[in-house]
Each structure stands twice: as C-alpha cells, then as structure tokens.
Symmetry: C2
Subunit: 254 residues, 2 copies
Amino acid sequence: MRRIAITNQKGGSGKTTTAVNLAAALGEKKRRVLIIDLDPQCSATSWLGLKNPDKGVFRAFTENGNVLDIISQTNVPNVEIIPASPWLVGVEKALAREVGAETILRRQLHKIPHERWDYLLIDCPPALGILTINALAAASEVLVPVEAHVMALEGLAQLLQTVDVVKERLNPELKICGILACRVDRRTRHAQEVVEHLQGRFGDLVYKTVIRENVRLAECPSFGKPIMLYDPRSYGAQDYRALAAEVIRQERGR
Amino acid sequence: MRRIAITNQKGGSGKTTTAVNLAAALGEKKRRVLIIDLDPQCSATSWLGLKNPDKGVFRAFTENGNVLDIISQTNVPNVEIIPASPWLVGVEKALAREVGAETILRRQLHKIPHERWDYLLIDCPPALGILTINALAAASEVLVPVEAHVMALEGLAQLLQTVDVVKERLNPELKICGILACRVDRRTRHAQEVVEHLQGRFGDLVYKTVIRENVRLAECPSFGKPIMLYDPRSYGAQDYRALAAEVIRQERGR
Ligand SMILES: Nc1ncnc2c1ncn2[C@@H]1O[C@H](COP(=O)(O)OP(=O)(O)OP(=O)(O)O)[C@@H](O)[C@H]1O
Ligand SMILES: Nc1ncnc2c1ncn2[C@@H]1O[C@H](COP(=O)(O)OP(=O)(O)OP(=O)(O)O)[C@@H](O)[C@H]1O
Ligand SMILES: [Mg+2]
Ligand SMILES: [Mg+2]
C-alpha cells in the first residue's frame, strides 16, 4: 500500500480537490483507495457524503479508538474514507504534552490490513501543526499541490524543510512523490510563469500533469461527486485521470 | 480605533489579499492603519517587504515582549505592520496549558496608543486555533472573506458559531462588520450563484462590494506592492477602493 500525504500549509492550494479526485481516478483504474481526512473543516468528508461523522478520526488521536471501526464506504467505486470531524480543532491542544503525539496515526495504521488497499491518501489541513506532522510520520510519500500563483511559492521552502526534519527524526522512508501545479489558468501569463518557476526550481519532482483551472471542479463538491462522475469529459476529469496515470507509472520506480 | 479581525478557516479565501489591499485603500483615504500578521506563513509580512522579521509578533505571545517594539514601517502610505514569523507555528503547543492564553493579544494591545491609528486589521491563519481566538478576543469587528466557490460555504457555520462563543465568553462587543465575496469570476454562473446564496442567507451582512477575480491581484505580491500601487486602474484596485469606501461608511453607524 502506498501511503501518500497530500499537504501544503498554504490555504486553498487544491489539497482536498486533489485527494478526492485522484482517489476517484485511481478507483476508475481499479486501484483500491482509502482516504484519511485530517482537516477539521471536513471538506473531503462532506464532499463524499458523510454528513455526521460523529468524532471520526479524532477518536484515533485521543481515545485510542481503532481506526478500523471508523472506515466508511463512499459513493465512489473503490474508494473508502476515514472521516474527519470538527472535533479535530481541539487536537493540537489536547496532545500538547502527550508523549509520542507525533506518531499516533502511524501506530494506528499498523492495525489496518495493508493489503486491503493499494493507496492511502491523507488530506491535510492548511497548517504545519500536529495533524500534518502525524500525516508526514505515517506516510511513505508526500504530494504537494501548489496553486499557480506567486503567493503560493512563499511557503514551499518552509514545507520542504518540515518534510526534511520529519524524514530525519521520525520517518526515514519519507520522500516527495511530486509537486502538482493546480488551478492553472491558461488565460493568464502569470500562471504559466509560476509553473515554469516550479519546473525550474524542482525539476523532475514536478508532475508533468498540470491541473487546469476548471469551474466544473469547483461545482462538483456541491453534487457530492468527484469530477469523473459529475462531468467525465471536462478538463478537470481529463487532468486528474492523467495525474492518476502518472502516479501509477511511479509504482514501477519505487 | 476600529479593530477588525479578517478571518476564515477555509484556506485561500482572500484574507491576506483583503488585509493588505484594504489597508492600502484606507491609507489612500487618509486613514492610518496598523496590520497585525498572525499567520505563520507570513504572507502579509513578506508582501509588505519585511523579509527577516526575527520573531515578530511571536514575542508578544511567549516572551511578554511589548508589541510597540515590533511595529514596522511599510512602503505603503499610512500603513504600518506588526510582522509575523515562522515561530508562530509553535504557539498553539507553547500556550496549551497557559492561563489566559486566549486574551494575550488583547492585553498586549492595551499597551499601544489607540489614537495613533484609525484602523487595526488582523490577518488570521486558516484555522480556528489559538491565534484566531486571540484575534477574535482582541477585535471589535470581524470581516469574513469568502471565495465564490461552493466549497467555501461549508465552514461558514462553524466560523460564525466560533464568533458567537467568543462573543459570549470573551468579548461581548464583537460583531460581524461584513462578509466579503472574493475571487468572483464574472465568467462563471457558479460564482454568481454562490454570491446570491450568501446574500440570501446573510442579507445586509454581505458587503455590496464584490471583489472580482483579477490576475493583477495575484501578481502584485511578487512586486511587494498593494494593488493600488501596482496597477491603480485595475478591477482589483477599483474593488478594494469601493470596499474601503463601504467600510468607512460603516463608521457612522457604529
Ligand atoms: N483546478 C481547479 N479549478 C477550479 N477550481 C478549483 C480547482 N482546484 C481547486 N479548486 C477550488 O479552489 C478552492 C480551493 O481548493 P481546495 O479546497 O481543494 O484546496 P485546499 O488546499 O484543500 O484548501 P484548504 O487549505 O482550505 O484545505 C475550492 O473552492 C475548490 O473548489
Ligand atoms: N480577487 C482575486 N483575484 C485573483 N486572485 C486572487 C484574488 N484574491 C486572492 N487571490 C489569490 O488567491 C490566493 C489566495 O488568496 P489569499 O492568499 O489572500 O487567501 P488567504 O485566505 O489569505 O489564504 P490562507 O488561507 O493561506 O491564509 C492567492 O494566491 C492570491 O494571490
Ligand atoms: Mg482542504
Ligand atoms: Mg493568508
């Protein structure tokens, strides 16, 4: 099972849109996917139709609940989810003096059968707090969505530094599987310049697939569907299918 | 001095873009403005040209440093800033067991001369953690930027509930001065529907001014200038000037 943390502390980079749509596109290609939603906003959880998750994954952090008990079906073929809940807002404070707080999620994941899924995608909140650290400690790879705006470039150094520190101190196998340019508006030179900047600075770490700005991607959450079920012929569906193909091709090199 | 917290836990709603450009537009209209950047990403701080803020406002939270000592000039007329720093990432954990942690900023603001500025704008991180609570406890008003996407509507109830709780328990004068529709793409029906939904649900709380999607707003941070200095005739400059006029008109009703 590939364990991929989808993270960027910059808000609105496309983390949830990527987690849900990449999961669905992998599902289409017969990969079995488990999403973990670590965001107190519950964006992925409510997008996939789980309106009242009770405490969701919060239980795994504070009551030593078993994650296996909170895995839920979704309406997307081959995709299951461990839902978030608003309770997560209190996790940082609740775990402040807890020994081993940074590796709770990793220890919880030891309890689940790894052969049941091909991919684990962890949707992170827009912060470098305890929830994101847990995701980085539990994952084997990091996928970084970046909005094609110059302001999105500011925090990348801080994020990559955090990944290095987690790799050094908590999780030696952690590596970046890719940087994904999101919300790329073909109509503006600005977006193109930001994509070129990313390619110049990070080379092969940047996925060849670029996710174009496409209003259908912004619409589909209100219909509770990923883009390939909402509008299968849209740019958004094409782009996330291309990303899934590129992610699958990485399987060979691992 | 009006003390306005600019907050929304949804990432990428336009908080920083609004804090910096509204401050500059108010400055144009001869209002003196102090920005406080509470975001560990330091977006507003680096946009306004402060590259190395040392510990910035972090000192005020942990070392009982005096905020007056960290106020900095900016290159924008009538606008000063109390900068953020990456150290803020650790504030939540550092204050977890601290008595009165939620009102540190408010107590710090008692030390500054309120007649020196007309407006205090607090740029918040995308979370409902200790930094945002401090902002809500220290402010007299809340301005909520909302991206014109359906996914941005999800978290509003959670935010408004948090405002109510802070008003009830920590800060009885707190009120919402307005909900601001941001990144409204005139080309899509989706954005229009979201704006209409906001107006239907929140009525007069929604500013008449709408901030249109305008790539010039995404470009100006890389030039270290607010929109009215970067491209004074752009839609972005027009919209933020209109917002400033509307905010100033609210002065009478207070
Ligand atoms: N390629 C795209 N085209 C158009 N809209 C997009 C695209 N990708 C994401 N969006 C929209 O942009 C907004 C931000 O995306 P999303 O919520 O997925 O980012 P995020 O990083 O998960 O945000 P947060 O930091 O709040 O968790 C959402 O309203 C989403 O619908
Ligand atoms: N009206 C607009 N038109 C075009 N781009 C915009 C507009 N408003 C904001 N942006 C861009 O959208 C992105 C998100 O805006 P911004 O960073 O101000 O939001 P934020 O709420 O402060 O994000 P965070 O949650 O990370 O603090 C930025 O890249 C910004 O340049
Ligand atoms: Mg998200
Ligand atoms: Mg911001």
